[in-house]
Symmetry: C2
Subunit: 219 residues, 2 copies
DNA sequence: ATATAATTTTAGTCTTGTCTAAAAATATAT
DNA sequence: ATATATTTTTAGACAAGACTAAAATTATAT
């Protein structure tokens, strides 16, 4: 049995572990979870006792096989619920996260499998993030950051790195959604801001923006 | 802010309060919640502090207006989720309760309103229980117990008093569902068992069974 | 190499929700 | 009316999960 709180820690370690070193630091977890380092240490010990993380004092943690599976299951649920909210319940992509944070902890194998089927086995959530399968495997897709695209290229928005409501609303305002075609018109050497064309409109975006939009090159 | 545990107590008091006296006893709550009377007393004090129940020591509790609204909201959510599970996610009526016990605590106004709309504003859950509206009002329907029906009457199953999986599976086995037509063939004086006809089949049922099936008289 | 800084852990406290055992209040029976 | 039984509350303890402050360890800079 994994508690709600344990699930949240596992998820945090899971996310931190795949964008950097395998060993995740106590402070990194504390920051991600908006909690204190001492609380993290306490919880890490519990997770280590349950064989969900590998832990050596002062050396950080990594997920065990069991831990990774448990974490992937939470992520799977989170993302499937987000799809339900957007596809069936009229939520916009900036509204889903908070609710999915609650729904991801509902415990029912049948529920999540039926949800998966009902949604027609989606491969991505509303932010372009991949949905792990039952065994925790995710389909790796080639994703570049818009900031890395070259001038004159045309590309397609396939995801967002940052899913905060503020950022998503910014994208809405400029009519950028998953699948939107973006053409790189020019790039400023000085601050790496870009002028891009979306739906025949030119927009100037900062490096901060282009750094948070995932794209693939248009065929 | 009402915690998950508080919501469960409010719901228990709500259910107990409408099938008997207005004042609900500590022991009754303890039994319903499978907890100890001392735990109930502790919680009652918290609920009284939050003005969710009226409480006089040794005299039992009743819900305040706020308490009743909070309780009805939980019941509303519980039953709407049960409808989703049965109508859209292939759950049978004996499988929904456990999951709905978890889902009823998800906090999102929008979610529950959209769910309501998505399900086409159902008035009853899969067990024939009425779904409170946003203001906590429920449509009272005339329901009799099958045990009270007279010989030779034909009636329609409109609900179950007991929603345990065992009982619901028993009904499935005998092809009794909501809307099923039931004819009272005979009634035994001694133990009040009945012979009923369902889909051209005769079944003998004990008083315990007939006491847990709600019916209305067929037109 | 040693002092300083940053990170991590420990020790001790708090809140929520639960429990057992004992005390207090209420209900029931003679 | 009084003894007995039942119900309810109180007192004290415990586990989970979080926090602060202090101690221990590791990293960094001269
Ligand atoms: Mn999310
Ligand atoms: Mn997402
Ligand atoms: Mn139910
Ligand atoms: Mn029900």
């Amino acid at each position: 049995m994994v508690t709600l709180s344990e699930e949240n820690y596992l998820k945090a370690i899971y996310h931190l572990g795949k964008q950097g070193s395998l060993e995740v630091s106590t402070n990194a977890i504390a920051e991600q979870m908006e909690t204190k380092a001492s609380s993290v240490t306490d919880m890490i010990k519990k997770l280590a006792d349950k064989n969900l993380v590998n832990y050596i004092k002062y050396q950080g943690v990594s997920l065990t096989k069991d831990g990774r599976l448990a974490a992937a299951s939470v992520v799977r649920k989170h993302r499937l619920w987000e799809v339900l909210l957007v596809e069936k319940l009229n939520f916009s992509w900036d509204e889903v996260h908070e609710v999915a944070e609650q729904l991801e902890h509902i415990k029912s194998e049948k529920l999540i499998n039926e949800l998966d089927a009902f949604l027609n086995y989606p491969e991505e959530d509303p932010h372009g993030d991949p949905i792990p399968d039952k065994d925790g495997n995710i389909k790796k897709v080639e994703k570049l950051l818009l900031s890395q695209a070259d001038v004159n290229n045309t590309c397609i928005c396939v995801g967002v790195k940052n899913s905060s409501a503020d950022f998503l609303k910014y994208l809405d305002k400029h009519h950028i959604a998953l699948g939107t075609s973006i053409q790189i018109i020019s790039k400023e050497k000085f601050d790496e801001s870009m002028t891009i064309q979306v739906n025949n409109t030119l927009i100037n975006i900062s490096k901060t923006i282009s750094n948070n939009i995932f794209i693939k090159k248009a065929l």
